[in-house]
Amino acid sequence: MLQHLRPALAVTALFTLLLGLAYPLAMTGIAEAVFPRQAEGSLLARADGSVFGSRWIGQHFEGPRYLHGRPSAAGSDGYDASASSGSNLGPLNETLIEAVKARAAVLRAEAPGATIPADAVTASASGLDPDISPEFARLQAPRIAAARGIGEADVRAVIDRHSEGRLFGFVGQPRVNVLAVNADLDSSAGAGVATQP
């Protein structure tokens, strides 16, 4: 084994310098120079420069004026972007089944007779899912319109602006970015929120 000692230590040390420091630092340098917005987390800021979130990270909404995201198991109150987590409850777990029933009941009271979309009553994998399904978004349009005193068509137009279909027509799922819709709703209402920093 002894004849392997020097190469083992030297290669480990060289790998640490090249792959552990030079490679990530070079990538950071290139990223910050060429794609600074993405490199720093695609943060979104108000007109005064204060950050209100990231384009990719869902946040908690509960007021009737806002589009609501999915149930979240990240952190104790949900949408904790420093503690990503799914529920990890098994498919037959009673806690899960009761939670899903309770969430469906709330939605049914809000929109009687509507089909309840699956994403509206289930926790996402990350707890930070930035998106909801278009069905879940449309289901909430009447409530948002009433709370804001604007037309339902206006709300739907904002939702459509921030909807995306499948890539190439078949990769991924149709989706609506919740934070983008809410920021847009606020800025159309003159609250001074820009969607880009």
Binding site: H4, L5, P7, A8, L9, V11, T16, L18, L19, Y23, P24, L25, M27, I30, A31, Q38, A39, E40, G41, V51, F52, G53, S54, W56, I57, G58, Q59, E62, R70, Y79, A81, A83, S84, S85, G86, S87, N88, G90, P91, L92, L96, I97, A99, V100, K101, T115, P117, A118, D119, V121, T122, S124, A125, S126, D129, D131, E135, F170, V171, Q173
Partner: protein, 567 residues
Amino acid sequence: MNWQGWAEIALTLGLQVAIALPLGIYLSRVWNGERTWLDPVLRPVERGFYAIAGIDPDRRQSWYAYAGAFLAFNLAGFVLLYAILRLQHLLPFNPQGFGPLSTHLAFNTAVSFVTNTNWQSYGGEATMSNFSQMAGLTVQNFASAAAGATLAAALARAFLAHRGEAIGNFWTDLVRTTLYVLLPLSIVVAIALVALGVPQTLGPSFQATTLEGGHQTIALAPVASQLAIKQLGINGGGIFNVNSAHPFENPTPLTGLITAVSINVLGWAAFFAFGRSAAVRKDVRALVAAGFVLLALGTSAIYWSETRPAPALVAAGADTAQNMEGKEVRFGAAGSAAWAGPTTGASNGSVNAMHASFLPLGGGVAMVLMQLGEILPGGIGSGLANMVLMALLAVFVAGLMVGRTPEYLGKKIEARGIKLAFVALLVFPAALLGFSAVAAVLPAALAGLLNAGPHGLSEILYAYTSAAANNGSAFAGLTANAPWWNTTLGIAMLVGRFVPAVAILAIAGALAAKPKLAPTAGTLPTDSGLFVGLLAGVILILGGLQFFPALALGPIAEHFQMLALTP
């Protein structure tokens, strides 16, 4: 299920093999020491490595010396990583001020990354400093992947040799695979991912005031650089707790496609590289065909399972087209299946959905894909090597049936080779089932479970399967950051990695010494459809029958429970 979903799965699995074909030729050139178009840049760096490390690149090693170098390098990596994790509070790039890891967590994590498992008993964003992520974990993402690849390079030379002794030089295989293959590919993928929205920064977490006036702390990290190699190196250890389900690791369906394809590209490339280096291209096509068919079947089964009505959605009267618990909207059932199949068939183990919340058969199939021995296509090189062991068993079984000494790729397979192959294959079920049996009755182990009943048993089985197979994915309901789990999972990872690796190198040594035979009329053709069927049968019987009793008490029992609930 819809046509879009099937098309997405077909595209993902198809691209993995299609890209692997040209990449395999390149990988073979790197192993053989042939010229490549990166030589002008990388030759001087490579020579610098050899000069500083005192390596003579022309010196050929016996299997014994090769295995010694393999173990010495892994030991050095383990010691350094363990030290970094225990001392991270004293090291730079720690903007969150994280403290040191506990002894058992540092042991588990160091073993996990050195063995290419990347099981994570910790949540990255709440535990690891940027220095630990970069100089510790990212380094081992490269090193463990390249170390695994050396097994295939050595095996290729052994099959090519005629009464030879040497199987190559571990150090040149390691350094060349890293410099010429892993690093350039990682750079390309990392930059593409940043362009598509993946962060790459050394700054601290960001504080945001939400639209509703609340407060949100957004954890950031140099994500893209580690993400690229964790996928390409078939490692799987994410920066964040939820791995590639985190929108920062995987913000869009396009990043999902790129990173999902990256999982298996180099695994299949190692198959094709072995075929070129050992001059057995046709026989390797049979290995790829058997592996691809099994992987496609498994992935399809997961997609089917995740589009069955979930009991919670049925009970709530909600839309049941997709089981969305533990899935992201942008991926849905199809994108989650297109990831779960390859990540468990390879020894990757990254996830874009929570396998613990899959319906029973979906989670069960993910477990089976790992239990088949990480050969679909497994880790880079290590998967090919394990697949060759399966092929040796297949020709052995066929040889028993006709009463002839089995041959494979021009080499007679005799008692020593078969014994070593069985050692390599049997340590896996021994570690997996042995530890699971103890954990199922030990209060200290059971305290970590989130779910009761068959799903609880599945959490245990999944954990030891993942560790012994060096996969790293989890039924994450299990709270594994406790002394029992960290220690025993660490031991399962060590056994699952190094016993087969040394056995494979010993087989390579034995094969190299044998004469290379020309095929005769009595030789079983190993490039035919018949052999593909025989091989797939051996894989399924070995993998399936060993674990079927345990699976019957876990996912299969849970499946019937579910049927009773949702008629």
